[in-house]
């Protein structure tokens, strides 16, 4: 028994010692309202900057950095400069919760931006909700994200709208009646889009001739492709990320399947055409804006991004960029930069003109915005159709 007791003594010792070492004593006086009085607005950012999804986080971070730089260069928001506190979630949902706690309690941010992966946003949401800090997800499209609390917002469209829009586009505009679906079973983005496309395409009167999933970090899709090839569809819905779509398209063409592929915003990347080669010629995907849009906001953003990072932006960069500007708008609407004022302000965002379209935040704290269907031809993307939220259902 002495052993057990000494062990526990050690444990308590370790606990106290490590905390003392970390210097983690509670700062009793500070709440985030006080922090904002100092002429700075602290925005917390949690994204996957390393690990398997690091590319998502880094490109989003670029968009955020660009927006913050622009805002600060033009004098900040109401004279206050934005300070970013950025944390790496290492592509792990559970780490998202740990870093969210750090942002909410140690760094005392006024508002948080994150994450791309819905899984991480869902893990972090209860933390910010508990701390009374608004959280804006730039690109978590899973419907559950904003259901986690009344301070959880997003600036992207949802899986349900995107899936419905793709189904309507395939059925009505392209006139396809037989579709096949290939999606990632363990990825909420992919699975969600597949689900809504499936139900919507069927409701319109089409048939899903084959519906196959894959699981895990798969890089070859021979079997899934064989299965779809045997069903002979007119169009293939592939709601996956750009890293996979090139490989999927190559496997389709290798087995002689010529049907066009159709996907969501996850396809977009400067590398899309390169990774897919000519296999995506004539395929379509839904996106946030038209890269050839004459709109000065879009063109200005594209130019500034290229100048700063020497590469083309992707959809995630644009959403990160818009998240910052939406917060700026919210601070102006809410009348201040405290967490409560920003939350109030975010609820009032209407007809916000961003790079990713003009959107409003609805009563469920989701962005209502149009989707632009793009067609791949050569190395170019061309606009085919813009679908408004009111066009479906």
């Amino acid at each position: 028994m002495r052993k057990a007791l000494s062990l526990l003594a050690l444990l308590a010792l370790l606990a106290v010692a490590s905390v003392a070492l970390l210097g983690g004593c509670k700062d009793k006086g500070g709440d985030n309202a006080a922090a904002t009085e100092s002429g700075e607005i602290k925005i917390g950012v949690f994204l996957s900057l390393s690990g398997k999804n690091a590319d998502f986080g880094k490109t989003t971070k670029n968009g955020i950095d660009l927006a913050v730089e622009e805002i600060n260069a033009s004098g900040g928001i109401g004279g206050k400069k934005i300070v970013l506190v950025s944390k790496d979630t290492r592509s792990k949902p559970e780490e998202a919760q740990t870093v969210a706690k750090a942002l909410a309690t140690a760094d005392k941010v006024a508002v948080a931006i994150g994450s791309v992966e819905s899984g991480q946003s869902i893990k972090a949401a209860p933390v910010f909700q508990e701390a009374g800090i608004p959280m804006v997800s730039p690109s978590s499209t899973n419907p559950d994200v904003t259901k986690q609390g009344d301070r959880i917002f997003r600036v992207c469209y949802l899986d349900d709208f995107q899936g419905q829009a793709c189904a309507a586009f395939a059925f009505k505009d392209l006139g396809f009646k037989k579709a096949a679906i290939i999606f990632a079973q363990d990825d909420d983005y992919s699975k969600g889009l597949a689900e809504f496309f499936r139900s919507s395409f069927k409701a319109l009167g089409g048939t899903i001739v084959e519906d196959v999933a894959f699981q895990g970090e798969v890089s070859e899709f021979k079997d899934q492709v064989s299965k779809i090839a045997a069903a002979n569809p007119e169009v293939i819905f592939a709601p996956v990320y750009y890293g996979s779509i090139g490989l999927i398209a190559r496997d389709f063409r290798k087995q002689g399947v010529k049907a066009p592929l159709l996907g969501g915003d996850g396809w977009e990347s400067p590398q899309l055409i390169q990774l897919a080669g000519e296999t995506l010629e004539g395929c379509y995907f839904g996106y946030h804006y038209d890269p050839d849009d004459k709109d000065e906001k879009v063109q200005g953003y594209l130019k500034a991004y290229k100048a700063k990072f020497n590469t083309e932006p992707n959809s995630l960069s644009a959403l990160g960029y818009d998240a910052v500007y939406a917060i700026k708008k919210a601070i102006e609407l809410g009348g201040g930069a405290s967490s409560d004022q920003i939350t109030e302000g975010l609820r009032k965002v209407v007809d916000f003109h961003g790079v990713t379209g003009t959107f409003s935040i609805d009563q469920n704290r989701n962005a209502k915005k149009p989707i632009t269907m793009l067609k791949i031809g050569g190395t170019n993307l061309s606009k085919v159709k813009v679908i408004q939220p009111s066009d479906v259902k």
């Binding site: 894959f214 699981q215 079997d223 064989s226 299965k227 090839a229 087995q255 390169q274 190395t379």
Partner: protein, 313 residues
Amino acid sequence: MAEVSLTTELLQYVANGIAKGSTYALMAVGYTLVYGVLQLINFAHAEVYMLGSYFAWFQAKWAGYLPDDKGARAETVPIGMVALFVAGAMAACALVGMLIERVAYRPLRGAGRLAPLITAIGVSLLLQYGGQVVFGTEPKLFPTFAETRVYDVGGVKFPNTNIYIVLTSVVLMLGLTLFVNKTRPGAAMRACSHDMRTARLMGVNVNATVSLTFAIGSALAAVAGVLVAMDQPAITPLMGVRIGLKAFVAAVVGGIGSIPGAALGGLLLGVSESVVSGLWKPVYSEAVAFVFLIVVLLVKPSGILGKSVREKV
């Protein structure tokens, strides 16, 4: 397209599975060789495979086959250059394999079996995370080495890449079997795997033999890395994780320590995954490997072609 008969469909999945299984087999050999000699699960093997792809990628880049402009398409690499790249990747990976053994495993020889297992995990993590820092996290386009052609035999489609994969694997496996069974270094490897201490008493240079084992296994992993990358031309620092686990399972199923076992295990796993995908649900194919594994282990714990060892007090 005409109606596809069930037989044709089944044959298509078997064909897919053989191509997939060949790469598993090439990787499985690396696990099996090391396990045979050191009784060590070399977790870092999967990362050597990843490095193999990257070494070939860098050579292609320096040789100018990859465009700098992200919008442009990669050129096709002539077959002679491909051979050169593969040779370069094999040499580099062999060195990496030997270095890993020297630094992370050799100091722990005789320190039980768990400590080297943990260093193996550590090296594996190091290469994964290090790869992300050094190579970047975005997928890199791998050049193709031939125009994709699809051969159609009675409705079953064989892309030429699959044929190259299978042929290369078969040649390498046969070569390795000959090497192990017919040459003096091969005999030394077999001696070490039977009993390292006795082998040392018989004058076998154990350290050199272990290094050789790692060199060969790693070089084969490099080949697998290049073959797979040519078929699926987007490489990332984490590309080894999944295939590594599969290949290890294949090695255990076939009978760890046995080269024909690794080949058999790889093919069985590849084919059964494909057939399950085709006739049932692709999503269950990931679980197939493990169900297969558990069933084989329960029926014959030492694997299909493994030797069963009687335990003595």
